[in-house]
Symmetry: C2
């Protein structure tokens, strides 16, 4: 079991996750001119926000977009976090999932070569497919359950014997996939009613919660719908709203404080 | 619409897809000692099998496992195919899917930076999420429908109003996602009955078919269950059975011939 998130969240009294979605095209010009633009930008954001954040999430897509150069800067970013802030829980939002042993490639890439604590995984291929990821008991597997986007309804809301597919995913993950106690699930901030239902299904399992801010999710609703019995159980993610703000430090502090206000 | 696969398949009368799943640990020792082991191995396989194959599929996991070095060799591999064999249809089996514009990172990586014709995509986040991938009308989006692994049953076989989830995916993709006529779906060779049903739902849409050989799928059953009304509609994939065989050229030729025998 990897307790790192809970320990960090308690230690600094914060459920905030800063998202390093450092889209090259959106970086300030000064950074774009540097040799390692995404890494230098991230370093700047990390230095400003680390004290407020329990977790950093990095979306792989923004780095892969730049090919091997992006992958190098992704590696530099995670190395910087692991060296300077080794107690912060790290997530690669990679949304992977292949079958069986093929997943070992992703495990080697994300856990061993890069050095993240966790990554996000699609459930569609089923339990047996994801087992090699779950087998890494020193790490955390974060399974997509109820995503924050409008299209989430297409398949996640299909009704099977009176239950929606996302409820079945939540139940299976909590009862069958989580035997090593190393699973979390993704539950979007934009669906607080669904979040409440899922909390009822999975007990204290932690939710990674995207969708605050630009996507329209409310901090108050998320905290009220999602907190677990220990006053934890939420990783409340914000990317654009912090990293591209005029004052990222202040935005991180404000969001941490807003979360604290409702979870007190 | 990207017709490349059909044109190539007809031109060389082959529905074969050679899978460059060049797991570093499984490469012959002579290759492992080279500066670019995965690329050099792939080059050797490509040179031997190109005349028999309508498509090359590369599974991203085996390259990501080696970090930025693997990504470089993935790039060298696709460049080699595109230069030496520009009429061969190329697939990155990346099993990606994020929400909305985040997918642009994958589009840039796989289509623009690498230069593949297509990549595989998880359906779980729904239509709206995948739209930026579908919007690339010069390319082909291959959506996971019925995968070849045993765990496929966990969610893909859930029953919604008398239909299984994979049937609903097949129907939605063919009727709603495929407005640009640039979708294919993944249908595992290990489930020929399901393949027949899916063929009935989607008309002539092409199936990427993994699961022949090591996973137990039968060429005869696949061809009989999956061929479309034009005698095409199948991309029959084999990786280990060809690339790690004593004589990859002969294995590719034999599999092409076996497919021909049943599809004649």
């Amino acid at each position: 079991m990897n307790n790192k998130y809970d320990i960090r969240a308690k230690e600094i009294d914060s459920l905030l996750c800063v998202g390093l979605d450092s889209d090259f095209a959106k970086l300030p010009e000064g950074f774009r001119a540097l040799e390692f633009p995404q890494f230098e930008f991230n370093k700047w954001i990390i230095d400003q926000t680390a004290e407020y954040t329990a977790s950093f999430k990095v979306n792989s897509a923004f780095y892969e977009a730049r090919g091997d150069q992006g992958i190098r800067e992704l590696k530099m970013t995670i190395d910087y976090i692991n060296t300077k802030h080794p107690t912060i829980f790290t997530i690669l939002d990679a949304k992977r999932a292949d079958i069986g042993n093929t997943n070992n490639g992703y495990v080697e890439f994300i856990y061993d070569w890069l050095g993240f604590d966790s990554f996000t995984v699609h459930p569609y291929l089923g339990h047996e497919a994801v087992q090699p990821i779950l087998d890494r008991t020193d790490k955390t597997t974060i399974i997509l359950c109820r995503t924050s986007n409008p299209g989430a309804r297409d398949f996640q809301d299909l009704i099977v014997d009176g239950k929606m597919v996302y409820e079945i995913v939540a139940k299976k993950v909590s009862q069958e996939w989580n035997t090593n106690n190393n699973c979390m699930i993704v539950v979007g901030a934009t669906y607080p009613e669904e979040m409440k239902k899922i909390r009822g299904i999975v007990g204290d399992m932690t939710f990674l919660v995207p969708g605050i801010g630009a996507q329209g999710g409310s901090v108050e609703e998320v905290v009220k719908s999602g907190l677990n019995s220990k006053g934890l159980g939420l990783i409340i993610h914000s990317a654009r709203g912090i990293i591209f703000a005029e004052n990222p430090k202040l935005e991180a502090q404000n969001l941490r404080d807003e979360i604290r206000k409702y979870s007190a």
